[in-house]
């Protein structure tokens, strides 16, 4: 009856829902002695066809795991991982469960908002918002051309299609992802070496794997954790190179604490040992690589002793690691990482990614069992040009591509938008599912930049810091309330999956991504490129890979044609069609074409610390911090705390739980300290989810610190990444 009550109220709150489930659960708790009551309750609920199940895709992070949601009386009750989905493999992580409840969060945007002159926000109708945005867009195009417009998005199935199509239809090539603050350097580096932007470790067969900064136990994808757990079970040697003993440490055989931003020295030291002691795979190097002689000549300088001096890992350890890898080769690999230590962190991140690839090349593990695998991804084929008219190629090149030629074509560097706003080349910016202001570079710098823009539009589910800095905020419905375009998943096998709505929209004045971009396009005069619904587009896309919306909706996920993966040396899709120890493109960008040493940019002074960031398993960047269930965990377990090595704490007279003032050249803030033995002395660790400044996100605001506040604005040369860890900080104890 509680379920009914919740149904009857027009805008059911989370609280009434909880009351409902608490009541059913409480009845259940009665167990044998009131089983009758529980069953009667269920029978009554069944009149409203209360219990229903359906598949969808999680939005807790960009993995987009498959999930099965169960609703009771139309309200979400539980979610579980989809068995057949290659990322979830039957389970969901904590943030997946938390993000599934997003629809009921009290921090949601419920209607379009427009910023007033005094900086506050007032509701505006969709029609007015679209009309006003359309007029502004036309104005900008008339004055500065379409190349003065840009969109930044954190890719989601519909978002990456619609945002790009919208921007291209307007005549602008300025489409950017979040990558410059995520994995741009790593993907770009891997691409220059191998032609692919990523690779995976064959955990099922590996004998030894080395993680550089990345933590499967913190930046979680369930399948990765399972793979690693399996490898550890099977006795693989798991080496974690990280200044912090992260939560993946539980699977590790070795923890190699290292000076932040100096992983490249370790890698080059290992490469030196492999080359100078003739432990490398001659066949692979001679037949499948280019530039090895130059690399070998250069790597001779990078002795283990030299590396120790740079990265503070003992030379003996470096030699031992190199020898063990050589012994395990080719069933071993350096793991490719993601954001972690060289996704966007340092001046040398791009080069570190190349060095990772170089070591794997020396080990001859590319494509080998237990080694580094390059797999393919499916994508939709060509669609009916009448129903889905082709958008003309924009005339002007994307802003930033010239200065940052090594940024990936698919991502660009979103910081070009920040610079573009400052110099006037960009005047209208759209953000989709992106909290750029809070996370992509120093927030103060972003705020200054977007103030200069004529039009800033944020599309989000909540009043993020980016939304707060925008002129118009358009509310999207949340993950389980919307249908999105198919998600194509690559790997040894190929799949297509769908995000389908599980529940009715809780707030009727929110719209889905496709509705919003179609509405924007029509208002901006380019509606002719959007004469279709998202369902029609999904159907057409799926038809090109031999399946249908109905089939995918039914099963949740459909396996596509077998791509025919086989072990063996892969085809390197580089310009030379070989693994590249040297790259012409890198030379053109004005950098050393040969994979070699690049130092980190900022070195702490005597009384300063290195500051490293990292994810926590329950949060996805800054977007999940305000979610009730996840925020409660952060608060209960003090997850916002700054980690400090016990030795440093003792020296500074700081005890666990003390409050400290943290300051860099850019910012000062106070935070509670967690004193730990799990950190290299001289280094501080700050989780990168905290320090929200949005008064609309009541439980996130003012909770912890935002690392990006402390980091100076500077971009990785030629790549354009945000260099999120190029910072030195001071700490002093203050009264809490």
């Amino acid at each position: 009856m509680y379920v009914k009550e919740a149904l009857m109220s027009s805008k059911p709150t989370r609280r009434t829902f909880l009351k409902g489930t608490a009541a059913t659960a409480a009845l259940a708790a009665v167990g044998t002695c009131s089983l009758g009551a529980w069953q009667a309750q269920r029978a009554e609920a069944a009149d409203d066809s209360a219990k229903a199940q359906g598949p969808s895709l999680c939005n807790g992070c960009s993995s987009k795991c498959g999930l099965i949601a169960t609703t009771l009386g139309g309200r979400l009750w539980t979610v579980e991982g989809m068995e057949a989905h290659p990322y979830s493999k039957g389970t969901l992580c904590g943030r997946g469960h938390g993000a599934a409840q997003w629809a009921y969060s009290d921090g949601r945007l419920t209607q379009p908002m427009k910023r007033q002159n005094d900086g506050s926000f007032a509701p505006i109708s969709w029609d007015d918002a679209f009309a006003e945005i359309g007029a502004k867009v036309q104005e900008i195009i008339a004055e500065a051309g379409p190349e003065a417009l840009a969109v930044i998005q954190d890719p989601r199935p519909s978002g990456k299609y619609y945002s790009k199509r919208f921007m291209n239809a307007l005549g602008s090539a300025n489409v950017y992802t979040h990558a410059a603050a995520c994995n741009l350097s790593k993907e770009s580096g891997i691409q220059e070496a191998t032609g692919a932007t990523n690779f995976s470790v064959d955990f099922a067969n590996t004998k030894m794997v080395v993680f550089i900064g990345r933590s499967y136990g913190d930046g979680i994808r369930p399948s990765s954790v399972k793979s690693l757990a399996g490898a550890a079970d099977a006795g693989a040697r798991v080496v974690i190179v990280d200044p912090r003993l992260n939560n993946t440490g539980i699977f590790a055989t070795d923890w190699v604490p290292i000076k932040p931003g100096c992983d490249i020295a370790l890698l080059l030291g290992i490469a030196n040992v492999l080359v100078t002691r003739d432990l490398y795979d001659h066949e692979f190097v001679e037949q499948s690589c280019t530039g090895f002689p130059e690399f070998a000549a250069q790597v001779a300088e990078y002795t283990p002793e030299w590396a120790e001096g740079v990265c503070d890992v003992p030379a003996d350890t470096i030699v031992e690691l190199a020898e063990s890898l050589a012994a395990a080769a080719p069933a071993c690999a350096i793991e490719p990482s993601w954001r972690a230590a060289f996704g966007c962190a340092y001046q040398n991140s791009f080069e570190t990614a190349r060095a990772v690839c170089a070591v794997n090349a020396l080990l001859g593990c590319w494509g080998q069992k237990g080694g580094a695998l390059i797999t393919s991804s499916p994508k939709a084929g060509d669609l009916d040009p009448v129903k889905f008219p082709k958008v003309p190629e924009p005339a002007a090149k994307r802003v930033g591509d010239e200065e940052y030629p090594l940024a990936l074509a698919g991502t660009g560097t979103n910081l070009a938008v920040l610079n573009g706003c400052n110099d006037g080349t960009v005047q209208g910016v759209f953000f989709y599912n992106s909290n750029a202001v809070q996370g992509y570079a120093q927030p103060a710098m972003w705020r200054v930049a977007v103030v200069a823009a004529k039009l800033v539009v944020a599309i989000d589910v909540q009043m993020s810091e980016t939304a707060l800095a925008s002129h118009y905020v358009l509310p999207e419905c949340t993950v389980l309330e919307r249908f999105e375009l198919p998600e194509f998943i690559g790997g040894k096998k190929h799949f297509a999956a769908l995000r389908t709505p599980i529940i009715e929209r809780v707030h009727p004045d929110t719209k889905s991504c496709d509705e919003i971009f179609t509405g924007l396009a029509e208002a901006c005069g380019v509606g002719q490129y959007f004469p279709f619904t998202v369902e029609e587009l999904a159907e057409a896309q799926l038809a090109t890979v031999g399946t249908s919306v109905e089939a995918v909706r039914e099963a949740g996920i459909v396996e596509l044609a077998d791509p025919g993966f086989a072990f063996g040396t892969p085809v390197f899709k580089t310009p030379t069609e070989k693994f590249q120890f040297t790259s012409a493109k890198v030379a053109e960008a004005g950098l050393n074409p040969v994979i070699g040493y690049v130092p980190r940019l900022v070195e702490p002074a005597e009384d300063e610390f290195y500051l490293v960031g990292g994810k926590q398993g329950i949060h996805s960047h800054t977007m999940t911090l305000n979610l009730e269930a996840l925020n409660a965990i952060s608060r209960e377990y003090g997850l916002e705390r700054l980690w400090m090595a016990a030795a440093d704490a003792a020296e500074l007279g700081i005890a666990d739980g003390d409050t400290v003032e943290l300051s860099s050249s850019e910012h000062t803030g106070t935070v509670t300290v967690k004193v730990t033995e799990r950190l290299k002395p001289g280094v501080l660790f700050m989780p990168t989810h905290y320090g929200s400044t949005s008064p609309y996100l009541t439980r996130a605001q003012g909770f912890g610190l935002n690392m990006m506040d402390f980091v100076p604005l500077h971009l990785e040369p030629a790549v354009g990444s945000t260099m999120s860890q190029e910072v030195a900080v001071k700490v002093r104890k203050v009264e809490g």
Binding site: K19, G20, L76, G94, D218, L245, E636, R678
Partner: protein
């Protein structure tokens, strides 16, 4: 006889809190209420450190102190060894909270009742498996019949020499691999 129990392998737990949130959802708990608590244990000194997360919840003790002290018999044990709470009898005196050596009893704000993990007991039997097991991303949890020597849990307990957290203090039915 069936005697339900659980194995938690801390050597596989990355502390992702999936079990906590899944449990909250299925049981309709408020965000601040949890049947599972997480203890981070750090041993050794830099750089020779071992860190583990030990999830703690109701151990479904055969010698359950909470049941022994419960003045109203709201806490009771089923034939299959699952310790349950009869909400209709609980007055919220919190004696069980005090008596539980594992701190596993939780007061529900909405009702005042002192609840706890009940192995997802809904329809006269425990969840198959309970949600925390179902969603564990690394397979750190196994649920099953401790009286069936052929069950996965029994084989795993034997293989790993898993032990209850507090030895034989309360004849707990959650076994830990440490």
């Amino acid at each position: 006889m069936t005697r339900y129990g659980m194995l938690i392998n801390t050597k596989k737990c990355v502390g992702c809190y999936a079990c906590r949130v899944a449990c909250q959802m299925v049981n309709g708990l408020a965000p601040e209420e949890s049947f599972i608590a997480f203890n981070e244990v750090e041993q050794g000194a830099y750089p020779n450190v071992y860190a583990e997360v030990v999830p703690v919840q109701c151990m479904h003790c055969e010698d359950a102190p909470c049941e022994a002290v419960c003045p109203t018999h709201a806490t009771y044990t089923t034939d299959s060894g699952v310790v349950l709470v009869d909400e209709g009898k609980c007055i919220g005196c919190k004696y069980c909270m005090a008596a539980c050596p594992y701190g596993a009893r939780v007061q529900i704000e909405e009702t005042g009742v002192i609840e706890k993990c009940r192995f997802c007991w809904y329809e006269g039997e425990p969840g198959n498996p309970p949600r925390c097991v179902n969603t564990c991303i690394s397979g750190a949890r196994i649920f099953g019949d401790l009286d069936d020597p052929e069950s996965e849990i029994c084989r795993e307990i034997a293989r790993t020499n898993a032990q209850p957290l507090a030895g034989d203090l309360t004849a707990a039915k959650i076994y830990y691999v440490r």
